[in-house]
């Protein structure tokens, strides 16, 4: 069997199959990125936070644009070389294209790395501090101390579980104090946690034990709810009669149906008699199960740690809430001990008070009192210049987004002398932001704000397209010779189709670059 028009074009459409296919595929890609750009516009016009402008470094994006344009030219030349039957030229051009793709991804990776290691703290009053964590400082980098977004809990003596909800997965946060400089090292595999149950027996706390307890509890609960359902059914006629009585005087009165009430009462009597046996069996079953495993009798299970108290280091996303003595997980596990290490260390480089309730009393000044005067001096200067330039806004300049951007979002570097700034950026000078002062804390990853979310989504998807395209083009380069010998036109067609995809990837970037980096 042979599919027609794989190499030659069909006369009436003027296209071979793969070319029809790739144009249709590109049409769907247009809709994909169309959807993304539409979402971008929607998020931007609907943002209730200052949409970041000029926050990305333009240079890497600019270089990447050049790289992609260059690769577009070479992929075309590769195709033209095949058309001219110059296989050597094809190889050279294709190789350059692939190198461009690699360079693009490296630059992209460099940009991403920078963002993942840049942090932002939104205070309770809306003020924002951006900066780096001292542990990210090259001299100071040690993964074990990399715990700014984690809360440590030491001296844990009591653990409480809810057998209806909890799993033992909190144990993955267990740490041991290995040394002074490594206060929270991973607990070695096979670490055994022994606990004492309320009835005095000791057990090893692990996944399986919790699972078996949960199962017993669930079995017990099932029988209990069987019983509850029967009891409810017995009570239900009385309840219905009460509701009927109430409805007589309700907003939408329904006349009392005496016949129905009588029927219901008879029903209740009958039910009570007929379910007696069943209720007895169920009650016996409950007693038996409670006897068999008294630990799993109630949902809440309080355990005492046997031996040395435990230490945990928990990622902030993993627990629901915490206070000075407890960490409460989402699945209702409660660890009781002493909370430590809950300040966020930061070497700030940007102060952003655009969303601050009152810049004068911002929480930022609690940590950087020395920057308060320079900040407001700078604000005065900006305001002066702004009013001079836009005299019509002399009274309402505070509403102007440009003014806000200039006056309220300031890089600390601009406020102080160079040596002072350098000193501020030293790890030892990091401020420790109390967790109670912050509303939200994140690196510049998708969680930072919808702006960064859509930045990462769009550039990430674009990057995946680059990788996908490069794999296909690389495949043509590596395996092309055999096909070139057999049917050079077929290889040229394949490269043309791959090239069309590659140009589309370039085309998307042509929009992405100004949209994210410049506008």
């Amino acid at each position: 069997m042979e599919i027609p028009y794989t190499v030659t074009a069909r006369p009436d459409t003027g296209l071979y199959n793969a070319k029809v296919g790739i144009w249709l595929f590109l049409a769907s890609e247009v809709m994909l990125f169309g959807g993304l750009f539409s979402s971008y516009v929607f998020l931007r016009i609907g943002a209730d936070f200052p949409w970041p402008r000029h926050e990305l470094h333009v240079l890497p994006g600019f270089i990447n644009t050049m790289v992609l344009i260059g690769s577009s030219v070479t992929v075309l030349s590769a195709w033209a070389s095949l058309k001219a039957r110059r296989y050597g030229w094809f190889q050279i051009n294709m190789l350059i294209t692939l190198l461009c793709a690699a360079a693009f991804m490296c630059i992209k990776g460099y940009e991403y790395y920078g963002k993942f290691h840049h942090y932002s703290v939104i205070m309770q009053d809306g003020s924002v501090l951006d900066g780096h964590r001292p542990s990210d400082h090259p001299e100071n980098y040690a993964p074990e101390s990399h715990n700014g977004d984690k809360v440590a809990l030491t001296d844990v003596n009591a653990i409480s579980l809810n057998l209806a909800k909890s799993e033992a997965s909190f144990l993955k946060h267990l740490r041991v104090s290995a040394a002074a400089d490594k206060p929270y090292a991973e607990a070695p595999a096979g670490t055994v946690v022994k606990v004492r149950t309320p009835d005095g027996t000791e057990a090893e706390l692990n996944q399986d034990w919790v699972k078996s307890l949960k199962k017993s509890y669930r079995n017990l609960e099932n029988v209990r709810s069987d019983l509850a359902i029967i009891k409810e059914r017995i009570d239900s006629p009385a309840k219905q009669i009460a509701e009927m009585k109430a409805a007589v005087t309700g907003t939408y009165p329904i006349p009392f149906d005496a016949a129905k009430a009588e029927k219901l009462t008879a029903q209740a009597v009958e039910l009570r008699a007929s379910s007696k046996e069943k209720i007895k069996t169920l009650e016996d079953k409950i007693a038996e199960l409670e006897q068999a495993n008294p630990v799993a009798k109630a949902a809440t299970l309080n355990l005492q740690v046997v031996g040395a108290p435990l230490t945990f280091l928990v990622d902030e996303r993993d627990f629901a809430k915490y206070n000075a003595k407890e960490i409460i997980f989402r699945d209702d596990v409660v660890l009781t001990g002493t909370v430590k290490n809950d300040a966020i260390p930061l070497n700030a480089d940007v102060i952003d008070l655009r969303q601050s309730k009152d810049p004068e009393k911002s929480l930022v000044w609690k940590y950087y009192p020395q920057l308060k005067d320079p900040f407001f001096k700078h604000k005065e200067e900006v305001t002066g210049q702004f009013v001079k330039k836009h005299p019509e806004h002399a009274n309402d300049f505070e509403k102007d987004l440009d003014w806000q951007h200039e006056a309220l979002r300031v890089e600390i570097e601009e406020l102080v002398a160079e040596d002072v700034y350098k000193k501020l950026e030293e790890p030892g000078e990091a401020i420790n932001i109390e967790r109670s002062d912050k509303r939200f804390y994140s690196n510049f990853s998708p969680s930072r704000s919808p702006y960064y979310a859509i930045y990462f989504l769009m550039t990430g998807l674009h990057g995946l397209h680059v990788i996908g395209g490069a794999i296909v083009l690389g495949y043509f380069l590596l395996t092309g010779r055999a096909m070139y010998k057999r049917n050079p036109e077929h290889l040229a067609n394949r490269v043309e189709v791959g090239g069309l995809f590659w140009h589309f990837v370039d085309l998307v970037w042509i929009f992405l670059f100004p949209v994210f980096y410049l506008l």
Partner: protein, 119 residues
Amino acid sequence: MDHSTETPAAHGAHDSHDAPVDLAKSIRLYLKVGGYLILFTCITWAVALIDFGSHALNIGIGLAIATFKVALVSLIFMHLNHERGLVYKVLLFTVIFGAAMMFLFVLAYLDPIKASLTN
């Protein structure tokens, strides 16, 4: 279309079984267009540094340049200038639906229900 820009390679998109292709000539064209693209990228950056008085204007100019660049890529690099009706039809509907999507998203956001209550 100007005859000088009708490259043999591009012409090959028409008919796959034609005479040998003038490689140097087509590569010259691609380099020239690539040069324009780089030039306009620089212009985009430069223009973004100038304040035209309103964000909308800045965004409009930036997007206009980007659209021009996209036109260059699709017409010359992707040989759209040599394609026949079918591809145009597909792309036309795609662009209509894409534009409708963006326009109606924005319209739906900018026309909230409170606007009709105050009227």
